[in-house]
Every structure is written in structure tokens, then in C-alpha cells.
Symmetry: C2
Subunit: 231 residues, 2 copies
DNA sequence: CGGTCCCTTGAGCCACTTCAACTCACGTGG
DNA sequence: CCACGTGAGTTGAAGTGGCTCAAGGGACCG
């Protein structure tokens, strides 16, 4: 990780576009931006590690960060994919405690970082931000609970369709993910996800290239309950 | 549901014991208690319903509330069991939005209720409370994500042991739950949980009576990673 | 004394995981 | 430039955990 040259305007622009900061005044965002530092990560670089205490709040400026967790047997699930404007650690800054998650760059990525105490102090002074944070945490909880329900009574095909549908909404019809990465979002094995992908391809719903998926028939992905997940 | 006669002392006592309010001054708790109302629910009565907007913050005073969610196929998972001092809706008061959860009384229960706006106003004035709330939401997220991981690479036996272990820590060795209720915590069918319970019984780890489970060998429940869930 | 809820057990099935083997694409370093 | 290694994709075959369906017994309640 290396530090980027400072650029206040860039940070303010980012904050004003981010859903997390919706409802805050420009003045407030400017104050916050002054506290922020830019950091650069290359693909696959670790942003933070499991069991590492939290000392900064981080928002993606550009790129993509994957936040995931490992099981005892070494399996991994991804529970958050944060793109520009999205925070990768909302809990840590408040508790300061270490957590079980690993964050790594899915692409070359630039991150905006604010020292923990600075961020919480700012947050406590802006109730709207607190509300936004709690709202986002609510979505995270709902999404995880949805995934549990899905694992109870949906087949892998349907779960994968739901994941693709969610990714489509967020990133458009061309997705740069490997089947292994998808499997971690679906909660299955690489082989299974590969097999299902082959089915979808034969049905003309998607096309695949190495490390890339193109969705041809978005309408075939939305199930009866077209609720999307939240990554 | 009927309203209970008011009792300020009772409410203050409850708040001062609750983990949620840890770190707040007695004066603050007294102010908050003045805003609170007691409500009584009989077993199986609904406290709130799915898709119902949130207009009050609620803490269990006495009894037990089960918060759960239904799948499209009518299956149910329980994701929270709230006993005395525990809140049943931390998100709703801040967003006001309707959510997908159902809360019902697992026993006859008394609840302390505070009008939404009163509660959020109080919360914004007390950073420590905000921190506590976010901390609890973090545990909820971690717990849900643990359950997802467990469903990937643990057998029903192990998941059920973990659930029993968690319940043991929270409620002691005598648990008043049916196997169907257990199944909803484990994420499996009633039949499977019943079968596993039979195994544990044959191994002398538990004893069962109608609607009641007694844990005889707690040490047999803690797996290699004795991490408990969070209900 | 009928109804309802809880418990129990059996048998069958099937979606997934697991293990394994092989191809293809890509980049790197000799 | 070729050789090699690694990571992605592909496919087959085998095994199985636990879900489903089914059927019955026992406890508690009105």
C-alpha cells in the first residue's frame, strides 16, 4: 500500500456521491474530507486482516474491495463487495475491536481512510450519518439472513441466479468475476457454480470468457421474488 | 396486549442492568425511563408483524421474545431470542421502515416501549448508547455470517450442538424449547433435529421431556472452536 | 374424550459435495 | 522464444447427508 498525493476536491466529490453520506451538508462533508487520507492498493493486496484491531474508517474511492471470512476448514464466503463510495468497515470504528473479516483488493483500488477517533467524533455530531450507518447495517443483517433462508430451501441454481441478478444491478451486464469468486458469494463449491454456469450458458442466459461473465438475458435471472441481496 | 400499571423504579432498574445501556449515567437512564411504557403480552401473542412500519423501540422487561423470519416456502428461522434487558428492534427506530421480521412472545412477556422519536432523540444525545447499539448490530451480523459458514461445512449435529451450547450459556442447563423451535435456530427440519436429539440422549449428553431439554454434559457440546452464536 | 401439539422412527431419494483427471490461457523467467 | 507453473475452466463418477413423505404413539387441554 502506498499513499496517494492529496486531493481534497476528489475526496469531497466522492463523499457527496456516496449513499452513506446522504443528507449531510456540503460543509460537513468538507470538514470530514479534510481529515481523510488516500491510500493505494494493488490487486490482491490486503487492506486489513482478521483479528487486527480497527484504527481507521475506510471508504473505497476507486476499484473494488472484497470483504470475506474463512471457515475452520478454509472455505471462504464473501459478504461484501465495496465499490466507489462504499465503506468497508462500519462496525470497527465504533468498537475499535478486532473482527473476523479479511478485506482485500479485488482490483487495483484507492481507499479513503479516516482515523477512527476523528470519524466517530464526526459521526456523533451528525445524527443523519448515524442513521445512515444503522440503515446500512440493517441491510447487511437482512442480506445475511436472506442467505440463510435461501440455503434452507433454494437450490444452487436459484441462489446463483439471485447473486448474478444482484451483481447485474450493481455493476451492469458485464461482470469480471471467476466462478470461484461467484461460489464464495453463493455459498457453494467452485465445481457446482461452474456446472450451473454451463447450464445458464447453454440456455443462452449468459456468455462466459475467462474471468468474465456477460449477462444476455437479465429477465431470466429475476426469480418470482426479485429481491436483491446486498453485497 | 394490555398496558401495565406504571412503575418508574422497575424501568430504571431494568435499564441499569441492561448491556445495551452500559456506560450511561443513572440520570440519563432515569430520563429515558420516564419516556417508557410497559406492555404485557401472553404467550404466542404477536409483538410486531412483518411489513409493519416501526414506531417504537422495545426492550424485554420479563419473559422471552422470539424474532424470526419466514421463507417463501413457509419455513422459518429464528434469529433473535430476547430475554430481560434485551432490545428486539434496534434498526427500526432509526429508519422507521417496515422490515421482514415477526416478533412474538415465546412466553408471557412484559415489554418496555418507547416512542420512536423519543428514543432516537435520546440516542443521538448519548454517543455511548450509539456505540453500544452498533456493537450489538455487529454481533448480529457476525452471528448470521457464522451460521452461513456453518451451513457450508458443518453437519447438523455440530450446528445443533453449537446452538445448545449458546442457549446453555444464556439460560442455564434447563431449556424450555421444543425440537421444532430448536430446528428454527439450527436451520434444519424438525425431524432432523429430533433425530440428532435422540442421538445426544443416547450418549447421555442430554435428557428430554416434553418441551424441555436438560443438558447433562455441557463439556460435550463445546466444539474445538467453542465460539458461541448470538441470539 | 376429541383435538392438537409434540415426539418418534422408517424408507427413499436427490442435490451437492468430493475427488480426480485433463485442457486451456496466461505470464514469467531462463 | 520456449518451458514451465499457476490459475481458470470442464467434466465424470461416486457417495451421502439430510430433506421429504409417511405413519403412529403419547401428552396435555378444553
Amino acid at each position: 500500500m502506498i499513499k496517494e498525493p492529496e486531493n481534497l476536491e476528489k475526496k469531497i466529490a466522492l463523499f457527496s456521491r456516496a449513499a452513506l453520506f446522504k443528507g449531510l451538508s456540503m460543509d460537513a462533508l468538507k470538514d470530514l474530507a479534510k481529515l481523510a487520507v488516500l491510500k493505494q492498493y494493488v490487486k490482491n493486496e490486503l487492506v486489513f486482516q482478521s483479528d487486527e484491531p480497527c484504527d481507521a474508517f475506510e471508504v473505497v474511492e476507486d476499484g473494488l474491495i472484497r470483504v470475506s471470512r474463512y471457515s475452520a476448514l478454509g472455505k471462504r464466503i464473501t459478504y461484501l463487495l465495496a465499490g466507489p463510495g462504499e465503506p468497508i468497515n462500519l462496525i470497527g470504528p465504533f468498537t475499535g475491536a478486532a473482527r473476523e473479516y479479511v478485506a482485500e483488493a479485488a482490483q487495483d483500488t484507492i481507499i479513503v481512510s479516516i482515523v477512527r477517533k476523528d470519524f466517530t467524533q464526526f459521526a456523533f455530531a451528525h445524527p443523519q450519518l448515524i442513521t445512515n450507518i444503522i440503515d446500512i447495517l440493517g441491510h447487511a443483517i437482512d442480506s445475511s439472513n436472506s442467505r440463510i433462508l435461501d440455503m434452507l430451501d433454494k437450490k444452487v441454481v436459484d441462489r446463483l441466479k439471485r447473486v448474478l441478478h444482484t451483481l447485474l444491478k450493481k455493476y451492469g451486464p458485464i461482470l469480471c468475476f471467476t466462478s470461484a469468486e461467484l461460489a464464495e458469494l453463493v455459498g457453494t463449491t467452485t465445481e457446482s457454480s461452474l456446472r450451473v454456469m454451463a447450464d445458464l450458458r447453454h440456455n443462452g442466459i449468459i456468455e462466459t470468457r475467462r474471468g468474465q461473465i456477460e449477462i444476455l438475458k437479465p429477465e431470466a435471472l429475476a426469480g418470482p421474488d426479485s429481491e436483491t441481496l446486498w453485497f
